[in-house]
């Protein structure tokens, strides 16, 4: 159990560093969800299943969705990013109608 805890905490620290260092904002949001997911495992290990469920549902799920929606609202991420055309874009479109 000790080494499982060490592993989970190491995952948390590495994902937290990834949030700071990743240049892709969407990947940073995903990494912040991983921090919460690992934290919920820690809560299970210290026998707090109620808090673990809250952390998994709110921290890993809800806050990630809200952060991504906020990125979209701020124009920092769109469905047409990364040079992949969106399904609705015409092939000749300039792709600047996001």
């Amino acid at each position: 159990m000790y080494w499982i805890t060490v592993l989970v905490v190491a995952i948390m620290i590495l994902s937290a560093l990834a949030v700071l260092l990743l240049p892709n904002l969407l990947a940073a949001v995903a990494a912040s969800s991983v921090v919460s997911l690992a934290l919920s495992v820690v809560f299970v290990i210290i026998r707090a299943p109620d808090v673990a469920m809250t952390e998994a549902a709110v921290g890993a799920g809800l806050s990630g969705v809200i952060l991504v929606l906020a990125l979209r609202r701020l124009g920092l991420w769109g469905l047409g990013d990364d040079n992949h055309p969106r399904p609705g874009d015409s092939l000749q479109g300039s792709g600047d109608d996001a």
């Binding site: 299943p49 109620d50 673990a52 469920m53 809250t54 549902a57 709110v58 799920g61 809800l62 969705v65 809200i66 929606l69 906020a70 979209r72 609202r73 701020l74 124009g75 769109g78 469905l79 969106r86 399904p87 609705g88 600047d96 996001a98």
Partner: protein, 231 residues
């Protein structure tokens, strides 16, 4: 200079946290109220899940405060974003791919069942109104991810939210009138561990679950309906 100030602040904060952590008896908390609640909670309240007994019976008014905070936050987001609705001439995002659409259809009933189960069994097993409510909100938001043109019926969401919040306060006032304590458990305790036990606690958790679910589903739907900023 600014970096240096930030470093100083972070270092100072870390130092204080370490000082606090060094004095913290990890694993052997000095429980004063906790010992009493652990000892008499199951008999006094009748909830097999002691966390629920604390959240709804011993500290029920704190839960009402949490609901008010959540309501204020959701109302603030709605107020700010209400002027930024997608205009009629802007086309919404295209539909999701096959995997997202099929997964949304498949997961919707499962998520609703899991969310309702967690809400209804909040007084027996880990979980409760807040966790189940968030899962319910996720269930109703998932189809919107696949079909961004659709929208939740905000009138229904607001009615569910208002009625659930009102029901929570009314149950509390009912207990105040009968027993003299706001949110005191009512309706008898029942057999410890059965579904119909712990008096009004399951009813309170159903109200909390519906309110949280409606609030968060409405919040995410509002965020999704706002048009993306022009790049």
């Amino acid at each position: 200079m600014r970096n240096f100030t930030s470093l100083l602040f972070a270092g100072g904060l870390g130092f204080f946290l370490l000082v606090l952590a060094a004095d913290l008896p990890v694993g052997a908390a000095p429980m004063v109220a906790g010992e009493g609640i652990l000892g008499q909670g199951p008999e006094a309240v009748g909830a097999a899940n002691l966390v629920t007994a604390v959240v709804l019976a011993y500290r029920g008014i704190d839960t009402l405060g949490e609901l008010s905070i959540l309501f204020a936050a959701a109302a603030g987001v709605g107020l700010i974003l209400s002027g930024m609705r997608r205009r009629a001439d802007q086309r919404p995002d295209p539909e999701g791919g096959f995997i997202l659409l099929a997964a949304a259809d498949l997961l919707f009933p499962l998520l609703v069942i899991v969310g309702l189960y967690i809400v209804l069994h909040g007084h027996l097993t880990p979980g409760g109104g807040f966790q189940g409510g968030v899962i319910l909100a996720a269930a109703f938001f998932l189809p919107l991810l696949g079909r961004p043109g659709d929208s939740l019926n905000h009138a229904v969401v607001n009615w569910v939210e208002g009625l659930a919040g009102g029901a929570f306060v009314l149950i509390g006032l009912w207990a105040l009138a009968v027993k003299g304590d706001f949110l005191a458990p009512m309706l008898g305790k029942g057999a410890l561990g059965s579904l119909f036990s712990a008096g009004t606690l399951p009813l309170l958790y159903i109200a909390v679950g519906l309110k949280v679910g409606a609030e968060i589903a409405g919040l995410m739907s509002t965020l999704q309906e706002t048009e993306a900023a022009e790049p």
